[in-house]
Each structure stands twice: as C-alpha cells, then as structure tokens.
Symmetry: C2
Subunit: 348 residues, 2 copies
C-alpha cells in the first residue's frame, strides 16, 4: 500500500500518557524502521519525550492540542470534544489521508464512537466490530466482537466472520483460518435463531479463504481449536473479561498457595523463571492491540494500562494491517459472499 | 421440613456410574447421618455396590429399571424414555412425594427437560434457572442462569435474582447476599433493554433479603464483590465455560513452565503442596451441585465427571436445600415483590 506507513498517535490516551506512548513509538520504529509518526497532544509534553526518542524525533510531526477525551466523559461530551482532542485529531488524520492508521490507548467507547462517526462503516459492512487476540494453549486466536455491538443479527455475525478471518490471515499469518461461532453447545439445534442462521450461511459460503468449523463452546476458546471465534459484542465482552478475571483468580490463588509454607516459599524461588514465562504468555501487553474492523481506515486500541512495549505491540498491529491492506482483503472476501451483503435499507 | 430427608438418586447417570454414585451416597450419609436414599437403576449393579456401602445399605430402597437417558439422545427421545429411565423415575419420586430431592449426574439438557415437564414451574416463576457455585478469590459465589434459558426478559432476570439470593442464603449461609446483574459495563446506560429494566426493578425492591449492587462485569465474577451474579442462560453458560477453559489454560501453561528447566523441575517438586491447594480450590468437585431453581421440587445436577466425593457434595447441596426449605424462601420473597410477578398470560 505504501513505502512508509504513517501512524497517527493519540499521545495523551492511556494511563502512562506521553512517556509511554512516545517511548512505544521509538520501540516500534526499531522493529519497523520505515514507520513514520504523527503525534497528537500537548506539544511541550511531546517534545520533552521526543528528546529521549532520537529515532522518531528526526521525522515525527507534532500536532499540538490541549483537548483530551477523558474516561469519565459522557457520550455526548465525547463527540463534542472529539474535534479538538488528541484522539479525535488522530482519527481525523486517517480520514484526511495524512496517516494510514490511528492508535490510541484512550477510552474504548469514545474511540469507537469517534472512529465510526469520522471514518464511517466500509461498504458491505453493517456494523464495525472490535477484534483482539486471545492467548490459547498453543498460541493465540482472534475473537470478535468484543463489545462494539450489544445485539447482533445473523448478517452481522457472518460479516464479523469474514473480517475476523482477514485479521487472522494478516496478524497470525494463516492461509485459511478455522472460524467458529461461539455458542452454548456444539449441536446444530443449540443457541439463538441468529446463530443458527449465521451457521447455515457460513456453511454455504465455501468459496471464502476460511474454514468454518461450526459452533464452539466457551471452554474451547483457549484450546486453539478455532483461529477465529465469532460472537455478538455482549457475549464476547463477557467471555473476554471472564477470561481476564479467571486468569487473575488462578494466579492469585497460586501466589497464596506459594506463601503457605517455608517449603513452598523455597519452591517458589526456584520456580520463578517458570512463573515469569507463564505471566509472559498471559500478559495482556503481549497480546495488545484491539482493532475496530469494518471502518474506512485502520484504528487500533491499546490497553489503557499498557507498558511502552505493550503499546509498541499495538503499533505493530496497526503496521501489519496497513502493510497487508486489510480493508482490501475484507472487501475482496465480501465480494465473493453475496449472502453477507447488507440490505439497502440497513446499509449506511 | 422433615426429620429424615429422602434423596432420590439417579444411580446410572454420570461417567462413573453406580460405583461412583453409591459410594457418594455412603460419603454423604457420614456427613448427614439422617439422610435416606432411594436408588434408581439396574438392581444387580446397585446391590453389588451396596455391599461396599454398609451405612446406607441398611435402609436404602432400590428401584430397578433398565432404562437410561443417554448423552447422545435427541430431545424427543429423552422425553419418550423419561418415564422408564433412572433419571425420570428419580424425578417422578419427588413429584409423588416419595423423595424430597432428586440428584443426577446425567445429561443436563435431559434433566432440565424431564424435571420441568414432571415437576412444573413453581407459582410466581416464569422459567426455572440453572444455578451453581463459582470459585472466587475469597470463597464462592452463586451464578445463574447457566444455560436453561437462551433468551431472558427483565422479569425472568429479577426472578433469577430472587431465586439466586435464596440459594446463597441457604448454601453460603448469608443473611443478605449482594446481588449483581452481569453486564458489559457498570454504568446505568450500558447493556440491553432487559438488563436496564431489571436493574430498575431490583433497585425499587428494597424490601427483599438481598442487597442489589447494580451491574458487574465479567472480570469481577471471580472477585467476590457479588455473592449472586444474575444473567441470561446464554451469557451465563459462556461465562461459566470460559472460566473453566481459562483455568485449564493457566494450569497447562504452568505445568509447561515447570517442565522448562532442571531448576524449575526441582522448584515444582518443592511447590507441590501449594499446587495441590490451588487445584483443590479450583476443582469442580469442590463446587459440585448445580440446582434447577424455580421448580416444584428440588433437583440437583452433578458434573458428569464428578468423583464420589464430588457427587457427595452435590447430595449435600440437595440436603441443604431440603433442610432449609428453599421453595418456601423463594415463595415468601416473591410475595413481597409484586413487580416480579408473571403476567397471567405468560404464567404456566
């Protein structure tokens, strides 16, 4: 698509602020030397951090704004503030063609609302979806929607399947990802009307670069049996957060257990390298970078609490999506899948 | 309610069959010396196991049947076979007043269908729900519905809240359990119409023996911040199974990590008591006994793969529900909560 992908960074978003996001850009530049950055936020704060980031300082553009979207903003305030905020301006840059992708660690709901309003939904898609990588026993899988759409019909779900498969091809490097619909049983007669209809549509669509494997239950999300797990935004959000909470539960219980006796305390000291490896596999920073799929432009959301290295991973996701032109992949697949097309009345 | 609670056991259900279920009854009898059993299944197999279970053998009644509900049965087959199966006869005994509760480790869907058809829904309840205990960081919480109802309206949800609170008072020994609705955000404007309406109804119902705390997100299920987590059967099933899968993921990664070097292998050996304690806290056997709440009778579902000790825990749950007369608690609470009453057209 381009020789030098340009990333518009919301420098102010996230818990770490400019210290984290600018350092992340520097790390990403080491991994992808051709990346260029447009940095949106308070100029004095950005310049202070750029002094410690020589690689990107040479050709980064700094666009000053005092405006910020706050986590406490109401939806009405978010959209009013959008035009002057670091988040809003970064997305605006994608629309204006000044950047290829926007990356922000700001509030998810605000980012979604501004991105949808600014970039609009791409042709052939009824509703954009939030997708991310989940850790599995063998490696990682894609799950979507993670909360953008509370209720979804069958066409939303099959469009998510197409978008999620394109994402998995791009980010996981798979030729023909295995795609499954999240359900409360594997039998055909289980679940909602929408799930059964989506399953029938995906079974019939044999011409796509994905392998539809049917329904999958919650306990198999982390098994790696599917590369892409498709669900509505309500169930997806519940599953994502339940997985987070359960991982925390197990690790907390483990720490308590290690503190239970002198012997296990010694065992803990000797096991530390193993426990570090475990934490690394589960660390959200290593799976960072949720993507709003289905917009006319690439927008990546970092965890609010990401480290510089974690935020650099989100920038890496943006880089891959731009370099591999995900929007074109999705458009090509949709063109081969007429059943998934929006009806004129519902299309935006 | 009764001096000697009588439990109708589906001896044939579950992976372990009579060897597990009869041994479990013997264990339960040690814990609750007044329990009596009616044992449903193949008489020869039951008698062989009773020879090893002297405590219950003295006064257990054995009711022979060759019929069994199989996990592979279609819903139509289940109901046709119900009348002659060990599962169906155990539930029939509750209806006939020959037992106070039925316990089975057989197929969940079959048990639900037969229990609903045989015992019917109790007055004031539109739909029964499946409830169970989930491990949390401090101890355990109740979650429902775990899969009985794919789609739920606001009145279903508030009825689940009343039933779940009565269950928590009975099994967790709480006076005024904290009840929360599972949602994708904590703010009032998040989630479906049904969730918002249920929240408003529960906020207004200040006269009940429960403390409604609002919405809770998936990552807080295991935090212990709510004693009862209320949700529709689709999301509840996804959350339950995702938690199971994630616990397995973390423990698998942990085992891999321990195998990674000689040092961590030694650390593992020294940490074994700690890891055993962790497994114990997470072991489904220690949280065994899901309950169908809202029927005219007590029906408890054991995990299919439960050990004898695990199945004995499910019998223990049945004992507590009978001893504390859960149906009366639910009926009393519903009488104080007119907003939760079914409309005549929808009531059975």
């Amino acid at each position: 698509m381009t020789d030098r992908p340009i990333i518009a960074l919301d420098v102010m978003g996230g818990d770490g602020g400019p210290a984290t996001t600018v350092a992340a850009a520097e790390i990403a530049r080491i991994r992808y030397p051709k990346l260029k950055f447009r940095l949106y936020g308070r100029e004095d704060a950005i310049r202070a951090e750029l002094a410690k980031a020589p690689r990107i300082a040479a050709d980064a553009e700094v666009i000053h704004t005092d405006g910020e979207v706050l986590g406490t903003d109401k939806p009405s305030q978010v959209l009013r503030r959008a035009r002057h905020s670091s988040m809003g301006l970064a997305i605006e840059a994608v629309k204006a063609g000044e950047a290829h992708a926007a990356v922000s660690a700001g509030n998810t709901g605000a980012l979604m609302a501004i991105a949808k309003l600014t970039l609009r939904t791409m042709p052939g898609i009824d509703r954009p979806a939030l997708a991310a990588l989940m850790p599995t026993i063998p490696a990682e899988s894609v799950m979507l929607d993670l909360g953008a759409n509370t209720e979804c019909d069958e066409r939303n779900l099959v469009q998510f399947a197409v978008m999620g498969a394109a994402f998995a091809r791009t980010v996981l490097g798979l030729d023909r990802p295995r795609v499954a619909l999240l359900n409360i049983g594997e039998e055909d007669l289980k679940g909602t009307h929408e799930l059964k209809a989506a399953s029938a549509m995906l079974k019939a669509a044999t011409d796509l670069p994905l392998a539809f494997t049917g329904f999958i239950e919650g306990h198999k999300i982390s098994s790696g049996e599917a590369d892409v797990i498709v669900t509505d935004g309500f169930s997806g959000n519940i599953a994502l957060k339940t997985a987070e909470g359960t991982a925390k539960l197990v690790i907390t219980l483990l720490a308590d257990a290690f503190r239970s006796s002198a012997l296990t305390k010694v065992g803990y000291l000797m096991s530390r390298p193993a426990l570090r490896a475990l934490r690394g596999h589960l660390d959200p920073n290593n799976h960072n970078g949720a993507v709003f799929l289905g917009l006319n432009g690439v927008v990546v959301k970092s965890h609010g609490s990401a480290t510089a290295k974690g935020f650099a991973n989100a920038i890496g996701v943006a880089h891959d999506l731009v370099a591999e032109d995900i929007s074109r992949k999705i458009a090509d697949d949709l063109a081969r899948f007429p059943a998934a097309a929006p009806t004129p009345a519902e299309a935006e």
